[in-house]
Amino acid sequence: MASKYDLTPRIAPNLDRHLVFPLLEFLQERGLYPEEDILKAKIELLNHTNMVDYAMDIHKSLYHSDDVPQDMIDRRAEVVGRLKALEDGAAPLIGFLQNPNAVQELRADKQYNLQMLNDRYQIGPEQIDALYDYAKFQFECGNYSGAADYLYQYRALCTNSDKSLSALWGKLAAEVLMQNWDIALEELNRLKEIIDSKNFSSPLNQVQSRIWLMHWSLFIFFNHDNGRTQIIDLFNQDKYLNAIQTNAPHLLRYLATAFIVNKRRRPQFKEFIKVIQQEQYSHEDPITEFLACIYVNYDFDGAQKKMKECEEVILNDPFLGKRIEEGNFTTVPLRDEFLENARLFIFETYCRIHQRINMGVLADKLNLNYEEAERWIVNLIRTSKLEAKIDSNLGTIIMEPSYTNVYEQLIDHTKALSTRTYKIVHQLLENAPGQTAR
């Protein structure tokens, strides 16, 4: 049941192998799937990387034995051998880069740098490419910090735009895995610019790149402090939203969550509701359904039910359900925030169409008890978010009808007209002599 809404299988294909690890770790922790399956999945994953030692460890814990299959041992030897070879290939350049004095000679001009390296240190394009290969191999081995450094330096020197792009992807992955969210965010934005501006051979590739980018960005956005507004900025762009709608409707969950926890995004939110409506048929997700219940069907009972499901989903989602250890108990900050805001959503809409509400019913709808509900509402009234009064004798809330005066409306409608007309006349006068003079 809980695994029904697990998105890992849909997200994983859009991630780098190494990025899937954190997801699997999370799943292991949550215990949604049998432990063995996850361990097997991990080995499967590692088979194509160079983290052979790690794979061996997992193998041991999976089968509870100290024997390791021969092919793993062989592979280990091969990996070590290849590492040596690559290291040798990249050695001259690495030697140069590790020499602080030499590095000082580098300037902002790439052409100059290349020329200089070639002339003085006999470091040509082959060595630079070797650095790229070496960095990639380091990454495959799980040495992310090394890979990130080398890739950074490679990008400073390389001239091949395709390779530079993949180096950037590699750098992003490495930073994400090292959890350097600030740097990762920078890399992400750089990558986004390239993807948006680059001429792809086919629109399909571009869409695919965008989808990857969005998937990778989930790591950053749900960990970075400012991520929740930025995810809206990114995902809600037309191009990205299109990509989501066509190819990855499951990402709507994250966008929806971000919208719910972000109160200041109203105008875009309305548009987003439309998107959700359109995509209802293609993807089922409690969080989007929750929004549909409130804003499309006005089904508050349904919304309330969905809220419970949403909580479940959030707890089981590797990105949303991030835990923070405080003392000896853990909290999931996003869950609390989500529930709070979801409640507010329900209440807000509910109040708009009611003039008198029974507190008991309301408390029920908000998943709160009576006192809590009363406190909550009083708070809202005090912060003047709600124009209402509580009739505690009857146990009801009475809304104050708020209708704009007809006259005010009329004034609103016409106010702009005079300025506009004035502007026209002004313009006309400005232009008229010019006309005649010509």
């Binding site: 869409v207 037309d238 439309k274 409506q277 499309v296 007809v406």
Partner: protein, 914 residues
């Protein structure tokens, strides 16, 4: 047929007969020629029965003489048959005497054709008899004597008519054409065997032919008469036939093509004969290509269609071509280069590539066109039509084979074209029909094979280049049509050209719509941007587009998406030319007289009957949707009904029906919907539903019950809304229970509907939760206030007009943001879609810009649907929610431009009224 002649002859020379078997067969045929001819001369149709016992009728002298003449010719023929030279000699003398009489009567110095022919025949027979030394020896002495004297007499006599005889020999048609033209159609046998050109008669003979391959085959064999006899002579000895002779003959025949006096059917026969004697596979292929194109020539006019048996033969020939091509993979078919003169000389063992001129795709398309035309022409209510429909698998198998071949050769472009042809045959079929076709194909191929064998038997012995049947003769169909379409369209999306892709996309949309996959087909439509480009496409594609749109509308309706259904269909009905737009019959217009030219063009575009979309059903759906949208809309805007019009068409009909002084019981679809509308406006949902339900077009629905259920729910909902709009001003509060009971809805449904109206500010009210009541607020504007609002609106428009005028004069000036499209501000659907927000159209124009910038024209690159599900191009822009529902006017010629600027956009807001 020969038997009849045998019985007539008194067979005294039985042992000799065997020797003459072959010759006599020919003679027999010839005799018929003569009889047929004589019948012509006898002039009187009633007399021309086969029976020899003729009635006595008073005739003109001329006729009488002719009759005598032909009777003598008959006698001569009989005599020939039994090799009786004595009586032949007598007859010859008699005929000469008669000739004098005839000449006198006709007062011409030219002997009648009949006579000349008789001479030719005699001469031939004589030569044959002389050539056959052995037979001569066996002859009785009197007979031999007669033969000799005959020889001399004939020689002398023929000198007189030498010119004519030669002429006759060279161009027997000249002597025949006349006959043919006036030949009455009653005689079955002579017609089929002699005058295949005479198409009508052949078709009327269908009882005998019933499209059976075997029989036509034998018919064909018979047809190898006269001219082929010469060919037979030329090629009598298989060992003497060389590539050169065949090639020469081939060139000769091809050169005769299209010349006056060349029988088209004869050409086909001769060529068919040549295919049997062709020396190399390449040559056979070359000749087969000519056969096929000659067969296409058989159909003389653009509007008529190819005779069905010729069509079938043609398909068989195409299959034979494919056989050869598959067998000899070194033969390449190409229509780009002029191949070497002697290219076909290279034999079967030649290993290099051999180039043959030809274009399989073009041939296949032509075959398809002929099939389509025949369906257009045949009356759909006859058995013939059904029979014709059964030929579809035959074409499908051909298309399948051609496609496979082209794919193998690497001509993906051609393959995609062929794939499109297949798609176009399948796309409109619901699963049931598809299954039926599949079953038929399986059954049918059994029959076809046996027929095939017979044909093979007949041509078998003489064919030099035997081609085994390599390509399958049986179409293979995947389990469901979706799978088939998927395979084909993904091929087309990958390789096809622009038009092919567009058409395939439309077929795909149509097919999805039939299968009730509204969202998929809508996405396809929107992503491909077909709506924007379709008016630049050819008319037949536009028709396809209209068909797809209407099917999409029906699909939306079945899914309960009233608004979408309406926006799909409304454009079709806006001009009242549905028939024309869907090419399902010619609509007569009062105002525009069509020229015959236009009418002919239109007729040529018609869809065959079995592909029609039921117009009544379409109309019922359209009007029902319009009713559901328009009734509450009218109730909401009582004061200025003209402002927000959702369906002009519906409004007009309503006005018309209101103007009637007396409304009778509903008869047609319109009456029904109008009656329902009247009931609905009073909130009487039950009656409204009963009236709608009584329409018998609903039986066309597969899931009739559930759709009607949906319709009922919708009617209830709209009835509730209408009720609230109309009567809310009269109430201070209304209880939920009461409302639910009144409209037979559940509490939750009622609550949801009313809440929606509140949120959209359609209803100025709010819930009183503890008592479960709706409390109405008195915010209804007074008359004065309403007028004041009106005034402000007008003033705003004025200001905007000023600004626009300025802009037009001075250009720009910081007012770019102001929309220019206001003037045709028919943003009705938009207005309906988004209750309050009249800003829809603005959004639309932005959408267009957006779509322009994002990925440009993404075209139809929904490629790789099979391999990577759902990968779509970025050309897909956000305007998904906008613009669905534009049918294009296929306007016939001159009227095309006239269809005013009605390319308005219609919003398709997928959502509920927000």
């Amino acid at each position: 047929m020969a038997s009849r002649f045998w019985t007539q002859g008194d067979s005294d020379t039985e042992e000799e007969e065997s020797d003459y078997d072959e010759q006599e067969d020919n003679v027999a045929v010839e005799t018929t020629t003569a009889t047929a001819a004589s019948r012509y001369y006898s002039g009187n149709a009633s007399d021309s029965d086969d029976s020899d016992g003729q009635k006595r009728v008073v005739r003109r002298v001329k006729d009488k003489r002719f009759d005598e003449l032909s009777a003598t010719v008959d006698q001569m023929k009989n005599a020939m048959k039994i090799n009786d030279w004595v009586s032949l000699q007598e007859s010859f003398e008699k005929i000469n005497k008669q000739l004098g009489k005839v000449m006198r009567v006709t007062e011409s110095d030219k002997p009648p054709n009949l006579y000349i022919k008789a001479l030719v025949m005699l001469e031939d027979f004589l030569n044959q008899a002389l050539a056959n030394k052995e037979a001569k020896k066996k002859m009785s002495s009197s007979n031999a004597k007669a033969l000799n004297s005959m020889k001399q007499k004939l020689k002398k006599n023929n000198k007189l008519y030498e010119d004519m005889i030669n002429q006759c020999r060279e161009k027997p048609e000249l002597f025949e054409e006349k006959v043919e033209e006036q030949e009455s159609e009653d005689d079955v046998e002579s017609d089929t065997s002699e005058y295949p050109d005479n198409l009508e008669s052949e078709e009327s003979d269908d009882e005998e032919e019933t499209g059976n391959d075997a029989e036509t085959g034998s018919g064909w064999e018979k047809m190898l008469s006269k001219k082929d006899k010469m060919m037979d002579k030329q090629f009598k000895d298989p060992s003497q036939i060389t590539w050169d002779t065949v090639n020469k003959k081939f060139k000769e025949i091809v050169a005769a093509r299209g010349k006056k006096g060349t029988g088209k059917m004869e050409l086909v026969e001769q060529l068919t004969f040549l295919t049997r004697v062709a020396k190399t596979p390449a040559q056979k292929l070359e000749i087969l290509f000519s056969v096929v194109s000659a067969q296409f020539d058989v159909n003389p006019s653009l509007s008529g269609h190819m005779p069905i048996n010729v069509w079938k033969q043609c398909v068989q020939n195409m299959l034979a071509i494919l056989d050869i091509l598959t067998q000899y993979s070194n033969i390449v078919v190409d229509d780009m280069v002029e191949p070497d003169e002697n290219e076909t000389q290279k034999g079967a063992d030649f290993s290099g590539t051999i180039r043959i001129w030809g274009n399989l795709v073009a041939f296949l398309e032509k075959v398809d066109v002929e099939y389509f035309k025949s369906l257009q022409v045949i009356d759909p209510h006859t058995r013939e039509y059904v029979e014709r429909l059964k030929d579809e698998p035959l074409f499908l198998v051909l298309a399948q084979n051609v496609q496979e071949y082209l794919e193998k050769v690497g001509d993906t472009k051609g393959a995609s074209k062929v794939a499109l042809k297949r798609v176009e045959l399948v796309y409109y079929k619901p699963q049931e029909v598809y299954d039926a076709m599949k079953k038929l194909a399986e059954l049918d191929s059994g029959d076809a094979e046996s027929g095939e064998e017979k044909v093979q038997e007949i041509r078998g012995p003489t064919a030099f280049v035997a081609t085994p049947e390599l390509v399958p003769r049986k179409p293979t169909f995947p389990e469901n049509s979706r799978a088939l379409i998927d395979i084909l369209v993904s091929l087309i999306y990958k390789y096809g050209d622009e038009r092919t892709k567009a058409r395939a996309m439309l077929c795909d949309i149509y097919h999805h719509a039939i299968f009730d996959e509204f969202s998929t087909s809508r996405d396809l439509l929107l992503m491909s941007h077909l709506q924007d480009n379709v008016q630049h496409m050819d008319i037949s594609t536009q028709i396809l587009f209209n068909r797809a749109m209407s099917q999409l509308g029906l699909c939306a309706f079945r899914a309960g998406l009233v608004l979408e259904a309406h926006s799909c269909l409304s454009e079709l009905y806006s001009a009242g030319r549905v028939k024309e737009l869907l090419a399902q019959g010619v609509s007569q217009s009062r105002y525009h007289e069509k020229t015959p030219e236009q009418e002919r063009l239109e007729r040529r575009r018609q869809m065959p009957y079995h592909m029609h979309i039921n117009l009544e059903f379409l109309e019922a759906v359209h009007l029902a949707c319009a009713m559901l949208l328009e009734v509450p809309n009218m109730a909401a805007n009582v004061h200025d009904a003209k402002r927000k019009v959702i369906s002009k068409n519906f409004r007009r009909l309503l006005e018309m029906s209101e103007r009637q002084t007396f409304t009778g019981p509903p008869e047609n679809v319109r009456d029904h919907v109008m009656a329902a509308t009247r009931a609905l406006r009073h909130g009487d949902f039950d009656k409204a539903f009963t009236v709608i339900k009584s329409l018998d077009v609903w039986r066309l629905l597969r899931n009739k019950d559930s759709v009607l259920e949906m319709l009922k729910a919708k009617i209830k909902e709209e009835a509730l809304r209408t009720y609230l709009f109309t009567y809310s001003s009269a109430y201070d509060s209304l209880s939920l229970d009461h409302l639910s009971k009144m409209f037979d809805l559940s509490d939750a449904e009622t609550r949801s509907i009313v809440s929606k109206m509140m949120i959209n500010e359609e209803l100025h009210a709010s819930w009183d939760q503890p008592t479960g009541c709706i409390v109405f607020h008195d915010v209804e504007h007074t008359r004065l206030q309403a007028l004041a609002f009106h005034l402000t609106e007008k003033v705003t428009v004025l200001a905007e007009t000023n600004e626009r005028a300025m802009e037009a004069r001075f250009g720009g000036g910081g007012m770019e943001g102001l929309p220019l499209r206001r003037k045709d501000g028919q943003d009705y659907a938009g207005a309906a879609a988004s209750g309050g927000g009249g800003g829809r159209w603005q959004e639309f124009s932005f959408n267009q810009n957006r779509q322009g910038s994002s990925g440009g024209r993404g075209g139809y690159t929904i490629s790789g649907r099979a391999s990577a599900p759902g990968l779509a191009s970025s050309g897909f822009s956000r305007d998904r929610q906008a613009r669905l529902g534009r049918a294009y006017h296929t306007g016939s010629g001159a009227r095309g431009g006239q269809s005013d600027g009605s390319a308005r956009m219609v919003n398709l807001n997928r959502g509920v009224r927000t």
